[in-house]
Amino acid sequence: MSTGTNAPQARRYTKKDFESDQDVRWCPGCGDYAILSAVQKMMPDLGIPREQIVFVSGIGCSSRFPYYMNTYGFHTIHGRAPAIATGLRLARPDLKVFVVTGDGDGLSIGGNHMLHVLRRNVNLTILLFNNRIYGLTKGQYSPTSELGKVTKSTPLGSADRPVNPCAFALGVGATFVARTVDRNIAHMEETLKRAAAHRGAAFVEILQNCNIYNDLAWNLLYDRESKIQHELRLEHGKPLLFGPADDRKGLVLDGVRARVVRAAEIPAERLWTHDEHDAAAALVLASLPSPEFPVPIGVLAETEAPVYEDLLLEQEQRAVSDRGAGDIAKLLVSGDTWTIR
């Protein structure tokens, strides 16, 4: 037994401590490498002993993630990671649990579980890698693929409209919703740290590149010129501004309708100021169509709500403190009994 010597709290970690001994098997050039690196890098900053961290995933390229983290990990079945993580939190509220999923895993086969884990506000950090394609099954369109997407399974173009992950999460009552980009390491780390610190279900959409089946799907935010035009960095309490320095644009909100304006042509107080605590405004923001509107990245909303397992465990503790711990011997003879001699 060497438990005493491993006393966790004193330990200072580096990125290396979170790298497992398994060979990483994503395709060369996959955006997942950058995400893995960012996650491993921000882990030491969480201040949580490594053995108290669990990564749970479903199925898909993204869901290989737990194998590469030197923490506890569970690579489960397609779409069900939120449900499995919920049960883990119910059993072990002392653990820090991450869910890693993708656009197919989390929003197609597992869409129902995603809805419920978010509305229940289970204390989980959920990373949804959105590459708008099915990679592991070799290139079918996904629920986030744009309408008319030509793939192996839709040679004439897909006929179903895509879901917007952040708008979905906000719509079902998620208490933390953010978006970040695999090619923006610093932003990714910052956003992931914020998500991991949130108490409740934190949902992060990571725009991720599949260089094999859907290369440059997010080029709007990759290309240097395009990025300047289309990326909207969210900062709490700051006006929503984007575009090149010499032609700054801003968003204004008329009722629930957003408009793009030239920043120079409008008084600063008329601009839409980002308020993370306003989930309704965040829903409008998350739902803005691109490329007519910019793509917001950063924390869309962070609100407070009771955590599901906290409420359940409070009930349990109250039951024990009010009436004492359960006693099966007493229960068996409670109510109507009779004796045969």
């Binding site: 053995e51 194998y67 059993a91 003879v333 109507d336």
Partner: protein, 623 residues
């Protein structure tokens, strides 16, 4: 704990002593027939009888009044000898309306006691039941049965005169009038019901008074009305001494979990999506948070099993309860638990199928689903309780096996066991076997898929344990290391190891009990909820001189190690089941024995008479 010694009232009329009696209360789903039956059951239990019950109700919550499909009934058999089943044919039928009469009359014995509530036999109800003429006017009814036409509604309302209740509230007390009357006919004590009324209606003294008066009015009506020439007694049964309570299968499953939770001092996560007839387990457990049972009403069946797997991964006891359609949805999750070698327990309270089928009716149609209903080679342990009270021990045993062998265990109960009740000798929980929970904490030489020799169990590790960080999942595992492996020989080995691990559970199974001679003409093999019927039929056959034995399987996978040898000691083997022949297939395949099925799939328990006839046929067929 309230403890009472049976007191049987002394009647003013002649009392004839019976061995046993089968009584059924039937009426509209709003008539309170379930409650009436349950109370009569309690009265018979207090009188010291052995009992078996059969509640039967429509799937519709508020079925239209007076219709055939809205009829709800409760049947019980009580006796001074051992009672194994709720009984085949009725000695007494109480029909509160024409629809109840129409549905249940065929089950009444010729010469049986028939009590009809006359005021319900009016045009609207007769039309709804499809009676062209009023059966009350049919003289044949009075010739075939001992018919008592009683205006129960009016007598109840009269008895409640002066109470500040409206007509509808008074009408609702008529079931207790009927209960009082039947209590008098069978001289069962009404004290437990009076007690129950007192406790149940603490908030409304008037309603309590009304029900008390209705009950007593019914009782005294039997005593004073000139229409009943005699009443009946059923002496206390010879039962093992001890403290008893009435137990239903679903409650027993829930309490078995609580017993295991307390013994292991582990939290339990019970995941469930509401489904008939399993939901009562969820309801029951949600009242017992003091045992650290965390009930999770999931968004669907798949999430329920998922949460339970997550809980097991976290080092808690993970259990879910469902019925056949839900078991189908859980297949992939159960397979994950097989691959990840995590201990979970799944209760399947079988009901009529396929698809939505007969949600409130019983069946044994899920045996093959439990054994084989998953993709690829995916063995799990399968257990089945024999009686409602046995559900307690089976739930406990399932948990014990799951954590000892790190395997999923499926428990096959059924609608009959779930809702049926029996007098249950309360066990001493300290005498239950130990549950061997050992969490690995030592990093020295740790491998996630290294195995214990006796059980082939892999180590159970609670996340949070320093130095044992590891990853598991649904991909094939390399032997010992648990790393992902696509190696052909490794896969072959792991398929065999997973099967062998389940096979080794056979060492937990006690020697099989044979009810009858150790060799002979016929062995009747039962499993699950047919225990009572099979045992009753075999004992009747033995009493008539046949060389017949029976045995009952509580372990369906693995099967008892001594079973093959036993099967071959008899000329013929008969396997009665409420399906089209599932266990019989398994026995034929496993043991090359020419077993024959007896199968009825009617949504109700097999009748003792039918099984008895099948036994006679088999024995007389000298091929």
């Amino acid at each position: 704990m309230s403890e009472t010694t049976a007191t049987v009232p002394t009647p003013a009329k002649p009392r004839r002593i019976l061995d046993r009696a089968v009584v059924r209360f039937a009426g509209d789903s709003g008539d309170g027939m379930q409650l009436t039956g349950e109370q009569f059951t309690t009265e018979a239990a207090w009188a010291g009888n052995d009992i078996a019950t059969l509640p039967n109700f429509p799937a519709e919550i508020r079925a239209p009044a007076g219709t055939l499909f809205g009829v709800s009934s409760f049947q019980l058999q009580f006796g001074s000898r051992r009672v194994y089943t709720p009984g085949d044919r009725l000695d007494c039928l109480v029909a509160m309306n024409p629809a109840a009469l129409k549905v249940h009359l065929p089950d009444l014995k010729e010469g049986g006691l028939l009590i009809l509530n006359t005021s319900a036999f009016e045009k609207k109800n007769l039309d709804r039941a499809g009676y062209a003429t009023n059966p009350l006017d049919d003289s044949a009814l009075g010739e075939r049965y001992r018919l008592h036409k009683i205006d129960i509604t009016r007598l109840t309302v009269d008895a409640l005169a002066g109470l500040p209740l409206n007509a509808r509230e008074k009408d609702r007390c008529k079931n207790f009038f009927a209960l009082g009357l039947v209590s008098w006919i069978y001289t069962r004590p009404i004290e437990p019901t009076l007690d129950w009324i007192k406790k149940r209606f603490t908030k409304s003294a008037d309603v309590a008074e009304a029900n008390t008066r209705a009950l007593k009015a019914g009782y005294h009506f039997g005593e004073t009305a000139e229409i009943f020439a005699e009443c009946y007694g059923v002496e206390p049964a010879e039962m093992p001494p001890g403290v008893y309570r009435s137990m239903t299968g679903n409650r027993a499953l829930a309490w078995g979990i609580l017993a295991a939770a307390q013994r292991t001092a582990l939290p339990v996560v019970y995941g469930a999506y509401p489904i008939t007839p399993a939901s009562d387990i969820l309801h029951e457990l949600s009242q017992h948070k003091r045992f650290h049972v965390r009930t999770f009403q999931a968004e669907d069946e798949i999430a329920a099993v998922g949460a339970v797997i997550g809980a097991a991964f976290g080092g808690a006891i993970g259990i879910c309860g469902t019925s056949g359609p839900g078991l189908a949805l859980k297949s992939e999750g159960i397979a994950l638990a097989v691959m990840a070698e995590l201990p979970i327990v799944v209760f399947d309270i079988q009901r009529g199928g396929p698809s939505t089928g007969l949600p409130t009716k019983t069946e044994q149609g899920d045996l093959l689903q439990a054994l084989y209903g998953r993709n690829s080679e995916c063995p799990v342990v399968v257990l089945a309780p024999a009686t409602p009270g046995d559900c307690f021990f089976i739930a406990y045993e399932a948990i014990r096996i799951a954590v000892r062998y790190m395997v999923p265990v499926i428990v096959l109960s059924d609608g009959y066991l779930a809702n049926g009740a029996e007098p249950w000798l309360i066990p001493d929980p300290t005498k239950l076997p130990d549950i061997d929970v050992r969490f690995r904490t030592d990093p020295e030489g740790f491998h996630p898929y290294a195995r214990e020799e006796a059980t082939l169990a892999r180590p159970w590790v609670r996340p949070g344990t320093p130095g044992l960080e590891h990853r598991i999942g649904g991909l094939e595992k390399q032997h010992i290391t648990g790393n992902v492996s696509y190696d052909p020989d490794n896969h072959d080995l792991m398929v065999r190891l997973r099967a062998e691990k389940v096979r080794r559970v056979a060492q937990e199974i006690p020697p099989t009990t044979i009810n009858g001679p150790a060799a002979g003409d016929l062995l009747v093999v039962g499993w699950g909820g047919t225990y009572g019927t099979v045992t009753a039929a075999v004992e009747d056959a033995q009493a008539s001189g046949l060389v017949v034995a029976s045995l009952h399987l509580r372990h369906l996978n693995p099967l008892p190690p001594d079973l093959g040898q036993i099967l071959h000691q008899y000329r013929r083997v008969l396997v009665p089941e409420i399906n089209s022949g599932q266990l019989v297939r398994v026995l034929r395949a496993e043991y090359l024995v020419d077993a024959v099925g007896f199968n009825r799939v009617r949504g109700v328990p097999l009748t003792t008479q039918d099984v008895l006839e099948a036994i006679h046929q088999m024995v007389e067929d000298k091929r």
